[in-house]
């Protein structure tokens, strides 16, 4: 059997990569307390590792694969998504420090415990666990399927897409099952660096194969001169009142804003919180969010990945990354293989952490407290390992056997995660958000997200209810609809509920944060200026102000000669907004001290949020209730589909 150069280099880099991940997973498992800490590594990872791993998880391979294709397909209005790293960093800056401090003080080991503790509601444990499972199964499957197909293409048919997908899953499973969360977090830092290297490589390849930056822009200029291509070089408006965003009219400012909110949702996900709580201290939060995520990766997205998309647009390629790598592989297979495994590293950073977070959530935060409170730690870890295997099996089966379901389910992960944001903001800042309001708001938000995205529409169609709107009505992403419904529900419940503080826990937290020293700005007026700047940036960067980008640096349809900076005006606007966004994040993180460490030791209190032990043995009554609820829901859906469906 004669191997091609591309196949040889894919095998070489793949082997080296697997050897590295397996070696470090083994080293991590040999640690003294490895068995005990398999499902989590609370307070054990150094800050710099967590900062890098968080960036890798936040962007994963999704940005590198999706953003260039969005630009190549939909034009530079899609480039606004490159600015999503700024809202992401703002979410991290606003919530990470206080989440970490609260968890350290009250002994919470996951987002489920954190929210269940503060809001005194087991509902959040279920929401958080379910959300983590959605990331581990569907969102990971989405990336797995794309990377599997890509490997098949790049190997020139040497391996079929399905075996390639299984191979990638096995590569992830091999180190996750051995090393546990500590290895997943530690390797996340390595994978972050490899992902960054891969993205830089993609951008250089686009520049090289496109004949240079100026040549690509010249080709774009030719495209822009054709009136039929006008929609590729400008944002089509603030909002379009159409049934769904798939009407072919391009991106509106509302769609960019709401999609950026969806992408920022990953920072509110249980995956991000789990990694965050693994940090020994909160010293790297500000640097991680400001310099790693907003500045470095933001710049890579706004310039590098958009350049790849621009290459795709200029050379009429809708699959920009795939085509670029295939062309690169023909001449320089070593670079192609290195870049490909950089993308795989980004995927694995997310897949490994999410599958372990999901296993932990399902076992430690749901099964143990609600069904078997006296289960030993070792047995729980064993069940957790089994859960890891099952989740990864479901994920790979979904990726290979049900691509349509993978897409519609995977698309829910980020907007669903964004629905945890109000509850987290309540925990960190807004004491007036009461427990029932936060929980009901989140549930309503999830329902609205589902009903405005393809999954809910398909489900409703299945049961015979044809909703009069499509995916993302009025060109607003489902995350935007969900957050609006979520916030409205919280406001209504808070307004009609008796006027009292959220709970005793709210007072406790207020007292705790006051004891740490409130984050005071160094000078009067800095705070209001920073918040005004944040609102202004959201307006101009990812909001209606994007329309200024259509003409701020020349006429979008004027061609290369009409562009002041020798690049499409909207792209130049995005680069300007990225640089201003970095300053904004720095201002909020450092000058307002929202993310800088408190500088004092936080001693944990003795009784953590896990609370007292309840009845021993298996809680059959709870299990029965769960089975009845699931059976009832299944029966209801079946009856509705049978009666009204077709």
């Amino acid at each position: 059997m004669n191997l091609t150069a591309a196949q040889i280099w894919l095998i070489a880099f793949g082997t080296a990569y697997v050897a590295a991940t397996s070696f470090w997973a083994r080293q991590c498992s040999l640690r003294e307390k490895g068995a005990r800490r398999y499902l989590s590594a609370t307070g054990e990872l150094p800050g710099w590792i967590v900062a890098l791993a968080l960036a890798a998880v936040s962007l994963s391979a999704w940005f590198a694969l999706g953003l260039p294709d969005a630009v190549a397909r939909d034009g530079f209005s899609g480039a606004g998504l490159a600015l999503a790293t700024i809202p992401m960093a703002l979410v991290g800056v606003a919530t990470f420090k206080r989440q970490w401090q609260t968890a350290r003080r009250f002994g919470a080991r996951s987002q489920a415990q954190l929210l269940a503790f503060y809001y005194r509601s087991r509902g959040f444990a279920w929401l958080s666990g379910g959300l983590a499972a959605l990331f581990a199964v569907a969102f990971a499957a989405l990336q797995l399927a794309v990377l599997g197909r890509l490997m098949a293409d790049l190997s020139g048919g040497g391996i079929a897409p399905e075996p390639a997908t299984w191979l990638l899953s096995l590569m992830t499973f091999s180190y996750v099952i051995v090393g546990g969360f500590y290895a997943a977090g530690a390797l996340g830092a390595l994978q972050c660096v490899l992902l960054a290297g891969g993205v830089v490589g993609l951008a250089i390849a686009a520049g090289e194969l496109g004949g240079g930056f100026a040549a690509i822009n010249f080709a774009l200029g030719k495209l822009a001169e054709v009136p039929a291509n006008a929609h590729l070089f400008q944002v089509s408006g603030v909002v379009r009142f159409v049934a769904g965003a798939d009407d072919g009219g391009g991106w509106t400012a509302a769609l960019v804003l709401s999609t950026a909110l969806a992408l920022a949702g990953v920072q509110a996900s249980p995956i991000a919180t789990q990694l965050l709580l693994s940090a020994r201290d909160d010293r790297a939060v500000a640097a991680g969010q400001t310099w790693v995520l907003a500045a470095f990766f933001g710049g890579l997205c706004a310039f590098g990945l958009v350049l790849v998309g621009a290459w795709g647009m200029a050379f009429a390629s809708k699959d920009a990354v795939g085509d670029l790598l295939a062309r690169l592989g023909a001449g320089s297979p070593w670079f192609m293989a290195a870049i490909y495994f950089g993308l795989v590293a980004g995927f694995q950073a997310l897949a490994a952490v999410s599958v372990l977070t999901a296993a932990r959530g399902l076992v430690r935060d749901i099964f143990v407290p609600d069904f078997m409170p006296d289960l030993s730690g070792e047995t729980a870890n064993l069940i957790g390992r089994v859960a890891v295997g099952l989740l990864m099996l479901v994920s790979v089966l979904l990726a290979t056997r049900a691509p349509a379901a993978t897409v519609s389910l995977g698309a829910l992960a980020l907007p669903f995660a964004a629905q945890m944001l109000p509850a987290l903001v309540g925990l960190c800042w807004l004491r007036w958000i009461m427990p029932p309001a936060a929980l009901v708001g989140a549930v309503v938000g999830l329902a609205v997200v589902a009903l405005t995205d393809s999954f809910g529409l398909a489900l409703m169609d299945f049961v015979g209810l044809h909703l009069p709107w499509g995916r993302w009505p009025w060109t607003i992403h489902s995350a935007g609809w969900g957050l609006a419904a979520n916030a409205a529900t919280i406001l209504v419940i808070t307004a009609i509920a008796p006027a009292r503080r959220a709970s005793q826990r709210a007072a406790t937290l207020d007292e705790f944060f006051a004891g740490l020293g409130a984050p005071r700005p160094p000078a009067r007026g800095v705070s209001s200026a920073a918040w005004s700047a944040a609102l202004a940036w959201l307006f101009a960067g990812v909001g209606p102000g994007l329309l200024f980008g259509n003409f701020a640096f020349g006429q979008s349809g004027g061609g290369f000669g009409g562009w002041l900076l020798g690049m499409p005006p909207l792209w130049a606007w995005c680069l300007l907004m990225w640089s201003l966004g970095v300053i904004l994040v720095w201002l909020v993180a450092y000058r307002l001290r929202l993310a800088t460490p408190a500088g004092v030791e936080i001693p944990p209190i003795e009784s953590g949020p896990e609370g007292r032990k309840r009845a021993a043995g298996l809680r059959v009554d709870h299990l029965e209730a769960l089975l009845w609820a699931l059976s009832g829901a299944g029966a209801l859906i079946t009856a509705a589909a049978w009666t009204f469906g077709h």
């Binding site: 640690r31 054990e44 660096v193 070593w334 670079f335």
Partner: protein
């Protein structure tokens, strides 16, 4: 060194070599296949940058090279030299490839010697092997 620091140091070293090593291999191959010596030089520079990054990581963690790392480095250098010599003698390499190989080997030896000389002095650099054998490495 405790296990946590061992893992953290190792991850940082792998991150440095993961990026610079891939760049080095890529540009060396590119230079050889295109017969472009300048591209090969970029690869050599990337290999040296990887070594320097390794030194910086070691300095950050307050460590020196372990015996395993030293052995791996020497073995890699020996392997590169052997493969290059055999290829050169056996098949008659292209001019660019010969210069690439010679530059790489010379640069790696010079960098390693420079490191030892700056750390232990010129005389001490030669006696490092004996010192290591007596005192042992980091782990």
């Amino acid at each position: 060194m405790d296990t946590d620091r061992y893992v953290e140091h190792g991850i940082a070293v792998f991150a440095a070599w993961g990026v610079f090593g891939a760049i080095a291999v890529g540009f060396l191959m590119e230079g050889i296949s295109r017969e472009a010596y300048l591209l090969s030089l970029v690869g050599v520079a990337a290999a040296i940058a990887g070594f320097v990054a390794h030194l910086l990581v070691n300095a950050w963690f307050g460590l020196t090279f372990s015996r395993a790392e030293g052995g791996l480095g020497l073995a890699a250098l020996g392997l590169v030299t052997l493969v290059f010599t055999v290829s050169w003698l056996a098949s008659g390499l292209a001019q660019t490839t010969v210069w690439t190989g010679l530059t790489l080997i010379a640069a790696l030896i010079a960098t390693a010697f420079l490191y030892l000389a700056t750390r232990f002095g010129v005389r001490g650099a030669f006696s490092q092997y004996h010192g290591r054998r007596e005192g042992g490495g980091r782990r």
